[in-house]
Symmetry: C2
Subunit: 654 residues, 2 copies
């Protein structure tokens, strides 16, 4: 039969890298021996460890064994992936990119104007940020589907943090300078993380926390839009739900502007219906994609005809015409705002990165191509650094526009170039036409855009699968809507880290029992049919044993023993304590020390400690620490069944 | 035979807590099925989780089912363990405690005077701290062997941090007030951690980091003593080795005080010889214990006779006579020093706690009794809070004095009371006699005391067992001696955390192969005799799959597949990818998402994903997320051997 695990395995002690020899005898009952594993090469071990941490995707592989000239060409291609695919670029591919580029341009122009407002910046800065960064990204990025530009959550985060330092109206110029400074450092952060291959750091923000944070941010952004939708003049500067709702209710006394409300609500309904249509029929994806631009055109024209702005309907009024001006001299490279810009930049940069990398990965796995996370970060960082020098604020990948880009049939990053050119034309030609666009329409567009960020299905799934994840998600969500975006973020990070720490501090342990008529030992609490072996207590430790949990594990095992002795007083005294180490993937010096203390404690009680199935690394270290000699090599078995067979043979053969 | 793992296990779907039924058929080849496990009760799960985290030692167990009066008595006993053992206290026990108490008193009096100097405080504060805190501890603490009082490392740490805020000579009174404030908050920190059962937090400072930190602190303290030993007047205020050595060399120009050096070095040799004798012959433990007091008496007498103080030998001059004055009104409860005192107190309190808990645990395991870490923290916290109100600075358990206490035959905390009374008498009667004690003798005593903190054996063991631990140890060590105590501590904490994070970010994965003539599948890199199964790639994931590593694991598995396809081009195409989940103790939503992406990616390559031996929790969540339905229930096996048997039967039966 095949299900049998365990073989008489002996390693040669002296020889490194020797081929182990395997003996199998057929005498029954026979017991497997666990010998001493071959020694590991220290340097190789460290090298492997470092490589897995920083170069797990093997970025230098293509460079191996190439001539210097070839290496230079490959280096350029690595930095500018466009060089890799531009030669294979064809007209048929361009057709797809052209359509996709036009579609996302029509979606991004009204969104950009609205998002710039979220960041408390003038409308043109949103458009600027949809011109330069996508161009840079197209040359350096490796995702084919991502649509680059300003996004709602980062705009809100940036706006909230900047407003804490400076007043966006009274200190307008300094506010803009700080925004560029933050953008510069956001880019530097992203570039640095990618360049030093520290991209894995963003993995520490858990998916659950992001779902909650995004949902909370979406609600907060939607609430902020009530100002535009109701035409409220005295609106709170806080972002929490209580302050905002109080503002809305209080403004009702002065009377909301009914014309504004009418425009806003009717177009919001139009946009949501368009969104619904697009969701129901994937072929009609272009309906929600062009609906915003249509809304803008119709509403602007209506206001222009009726001159509703004289009735109190607030309009955009003025957008600076022309291409991005330089802002290189505007960045604070000294003074008190340097540190503040740096802090805001790091936070905004990390959030932007998280969003872009998630989008890149999602679409790459849908189209089955590879994305190098670290290279991607270098590209995003470069585009934001250049952006900060050309009057842009933090740009990143947008969920909604990337999805539209994908569905419109984009093939390469050329769709971003197309979008960028259309935005350029808009800046030169069309911006004066936006003068009469009502603010309410922008509010509707933003609300309909951020609705998609609230991922109810994901939250329900979290609840179903993992309650702890659900708590993290809700913590971030309520943190954002009841306190602030920053506090929500802080909660999300804290819960993510807390989960990791909890995992390594309080691992599970289980008492195992024998499942009748088999040699399988399983958790007695899960398998109620499993029976304990009289005189033997079998405990499985479900984690690597490290300094953070070694003490807990030791005391938990002793507590199991005490409980056992108290609960089963009529049973024979426990003589053997078997610790099943199958899931123990690693151990450190504290862990071995704890085992030594456990061994000492047990000896005082006349209980023998037996280990089963330790992994290679663990066995290595147990030998190095002479722990194997301490308890005796004959106390280490390959399986629980073997150990029971040796010490309680009657039970095992039953 | 018995070594076989695996059984045809089916759970009843509908019924929670139903007894599972086990079928075993004898048809060969037969394959085990992994059914759906019974549902867990959510509330119970959360309750168990919370309980394991905060109440893992079950502190409320004795209270269960008791009358209210009995509960009150038990509550008092919990707070004051002395009530539990004082009734059984006998004269024979007292004899041991008396001898031990006298021994540690003779050791602590000269040490206290020296340690107070390390904290830049007057000598009497060291004695005060050996009077009140040990008394409080004797009533509240549960360790029978610990000796309470000021210790070298905490004194140095406190002195360094306090001096950064205030000048101990020019702003003497404020300096003392800040010291009491820090002591107060050290106590509050300790008490709070214990009371809220957060004691496990100190487990995050790894043993390796502590060994390095202690060693570095010992070297730093010894270097500081060169001032007293050489009679140097202009000594640097920095603690790093380079500044100190420069001070020593520069002072050579002005001529060291040879009388001081003679006294210091000769008594240092005497003390080290005494220490050596005590180490060689455990029965002579009292030799190093009383050597310091003898040195003090002889040297004080010699200086008094020869009036060497007129020759430039620095002496103690004055110790305030009498019992601790109140310092309750001295603590900064407002103003800018509140926050500073708080910060210093938290750090000093945590380090003091780490030391005391380690001592408590060590001796408890040697004498085989239980210590409740959290209760211990409440006791230590209380004693420092009371201490801060009675002119004491941070006290904790001393390694060297506790060892002497243990070897002198202490039975209970009464030895601390004895020591406390002797210190009290010293304060009242003997302090004037210390006037002529040369500072050099105190320096010698401190050097000989801290030498024991340098644990070379432990460092060598770390190197042998775990290189990463060794790096952490050396990082902390060099951080302390080349930078400062605080930076060393920071490095120690950072490396400790870094290790945990690395563990959960970059878990190991291994390709498994079949060990010939068995059904065992093992890492092919370790077992060079193991052979790959043609057309099947078997990968074991050695960690729980969480958000912090899910993406890495997914991409690592895909990379294994690519490498396999590239390296073995002549072999049949890989059709099945088996992921052995035996060591995967848990999974979260991000982990399941990664598996889904893996499944999607593999399907595009026409490779089937197969899971083997998922644990209960993992299986639960895979079902909840409908992942089992996605890949098909027939793709989950109890063992690798079963999976291979099904998909590549020829190979497995070979």
């Amino acid at each position: 039969m095949s299900g049998r695990v365990g073989a008489d395995v002996e390693w040669k002690d002296s020889d490194t890298n020797s081929v182990p020899s395997f003996h199998q005898t057929d005498d029954l009952p026979y017991v497997h021996k666990v010998g001493k594993p071959p020694k590991q090469d220290l340097l190789k071990e460290i090298k492997t460890g470092l490589k897995e941490t920083f170069l797990s995707d093997d970025p230098l592989k293509p460079f191996k064994g190439q001539s210097r000239k070839k290496k230079l060409v490959l280096g350029f291609q690595t930095l500018f992936p466009i060089l890799g695919w531009v030669r294979d670029y064809s007209f048929s591919k361009f057709k797809g990119d052209l359509i996709a580029g036009c579609t996302i341009a029509s979606l991004c122009i009204p969104q950009d104007i609205g998002y710039a407002k979220l960041a408390n910046l003038d409308a043109q800065y949103g458009l600027y940020s949809s011109f330069v960064p996508p161009l840079i990204y197209a040359f350096m990025g490796s995702s084919r589907d991502i649509a680059i530009g300003p996004v709602a959550v980062v705009s809100l985060l940036l706006g909230t943090m900047l407003r804490e330092e400076l007043d966006p109206i009274k200190q307008k110029h300094d506010y803009e300078r700080l925004a560029f400074t933050a953008t510069f450092f956001a880019g530097v952060t992203q570039f640095t993380l990618g360049f030093f291959r520290l991209g894995f750091l963003i993995d520490f923000l858990s998916h659950a926390a992001i779902v909650g944070f995004m949902g909370g941010a979406a609600v907060t952004i939607a609430l902020q839009q009530l100002k535009g939708l109701f035409g409220i003049k005295d609106f709170t500067k806080k972002t929490d739900i209580i302050s905002v709702m109080r503002s809305v209710v209080q403004s009702a006394h002065h009377g909301w502007n009914w014309q504004t409300l009418l425009i806003g609500v009717s177009f919001l309904i139009f946009l949501l219906v368009a969104k619904f249509i697009g969701k129901k029929n994937k072929k009609l994806f272009w309906v929600p994609a062009i609906a915003p631009l249509i809304s803008v055109i119709i509403s602007t024209f209506s206001v222009f005809i009726t001159r509703a702005d004289k009735e109190g309907v607030q309009i955009v009024r003025h957008i600076e015409q022309g291409i991005n001006p330089s802002s290189a001299h505007e960045i604070f490279f000294d003074g008190p705002f340097l540190a503040k810009g740096f802090k805001i930049g790091v936070i905004a940069g990390l959030i932007a990165l998280t969003e872009a990398v998630a989008i890149g990965r999602t679409f790459a796995s849908m189209k089955d191509y590879q994305i190098d996370g670290n290279k991607e970060m270098v590209a995003l960082g470069s585009m934001n650094i250049v952006g900060s020098l050309t009057s842009c604020y933090v740009a990143t990948g947008s969920f909604s526009r990337s999805a539209v880009n994908y569905m419109a049939g984009c093939n390469t990053a050329v769709s971003n170039i197309v979008m960028s050119i259309i935005v350029l034309l808009t800046l030169y030609v069309i911006t004066p036409l936006f003068k009469y666009t009502p603010n309410a329409i922008l509010a509707s567009i933003i609300i309909s855009a951020v609705v998609g960020l609230i991922d109810l299905d994901a939250a329900i799934l979290l609840w179903k699968i993992d309650k702890f994840d659900f708590v993290a998600c809700m913590g971030a969500f309520f943190g954002v809507i009841f306190a602030s975006v920053e506090i929500g973020l802080l909660i999300a990070v804290a819960i993510s880290f807390g989960k990791i720490l909890l995992q390594v501090t309080r691992p599970r342990t289980a008492v195992l029992g024998k499942i009748p008529r088999t040699s399988v030992y399983r958790n007695v609490e899960q398998y109620l049919g499993a029976t304990r072996v009289p005189g033997v207590l079998i405990i499985r430790v479900d984690s690597a044993i490290y300094f953070s949990n070694s003490n807990y594990i030791k005391e938990r095992i002793l507590r199991w023993l005490r409980d056992e002795e108290e609960s089963f007083k009529d049973q024979p005294k426990v003589q053997y304590l078997i610790v099943d180490m199958s899931p123990v993937t690693d151990i450190d010096t504290s862990g071995i020390h704890a085992l030594e203390e456990l061994h000492g404690g047990l000896r005082k009680k006349d209980v023998q400690l037996i280990l089963t199935n330790p992994g290679q690394t663990v066995l290595d270290k147990l030998h190095a620490a002479n722990f194997v000699d301490l308890i005796g090599e004959d106390k280490i078995f390959l399986s629980v069944a073997d150990a029971v067979l040796t010490f309680a043979p009657k039970m095992e053969q039953a």
